[in-house]
Symmetry: C2
């Protein structure tokens, strides 16, 4: 995962949640217009979200995307899990020197520690839902009008 993907995924889900209030679906092209990018990029991320059962696609006439769960049931931890491809911190690209006590021993230590950090991150992300973001986004608009 690149770190913008999470932002795009959240934008997509909040955008779908908005039309879901009217029991409507939305196409990747329409979402792309909102995000200001191209539909294929949106579809690639939608594909990841679909595999994690966060969104569902409808084919045929009146086709488009809808949420697979209610917005208050989708946490940002779910979203992060769905689109993450890389861990938050990577280990060395090339294997460290095994003749050095640090080079030999540090990777397992860091690997364990990083997974611990990711758990803490997930705990934090789990406290917020797509419904929360939609609410905050809309209410911040009202203040300006």
């Amino acid at each position: 995962m690149n770190n913008t993907h999470f932002t795009i995924a959240l934008h997509i889900l909040v955008r779908i949640a908005l039309v879901a209030e009217k029991n409507k679906v939305i196409t990747s092209k329409e979402i792309a217009t909102s995000v200001n990018t191209n539909p294929v990029f949106i579809r690639r991320i939608l594909s990841s979200l679909e595999k994690s059962n966060l969104v569902v696609v409808q084919y045929g006439t009146g086709s488009g995307w809808k949420l697979a769960q209610t917005p208050d049931n989708i946490t940002l931890s779910d979203v992060y899990q769905a689109i993450k491809q890389k861990p938050i911190f990577d280990l060395h690209h090339s294997i460290p020197n095994q003749n050095c006590p640090i080079g030999k021993g540090i990777q397992p230590v860091l690997k364990y520690y990083y997974s611990d950090v990711e758990k803490a991150l997930h705990s934090k992300l789990a406290k917020t839902t797509v419904a929360d973001l939609l609410g905050e986004t809309l209410s911040s608009q009202e203040l300006h009008s």
Copy 2:
């Protein structure tokens, strides 16, 4: 920051902490041998660590690097802060559609939320020090001998 930089920075600091126990310093070339990379790459990261007062360089004969603070005083939050160049999550690369209520409102919401997530990450990272990592790395070696 790329996500391997944090790993390399920790490797560097733990490696320096190891020789610091013997009141010695270590050169970027020696560190590069341990990390299994080139000295310039190491120096670039050392440069960031130096700016945050985590390491100090000695010139002249017997030159090399040492810690600017005791290892139990350097938390991983300090290290992360020193080398991070990008936030953990980026916003959109191109500005979203301002005619869409979501496109218009989501960036400030996410910006605030992301800084909140970073604070949680720092709290987690602050609980571990370079001394902790050094201890774990060495004790994991003993188990294998």
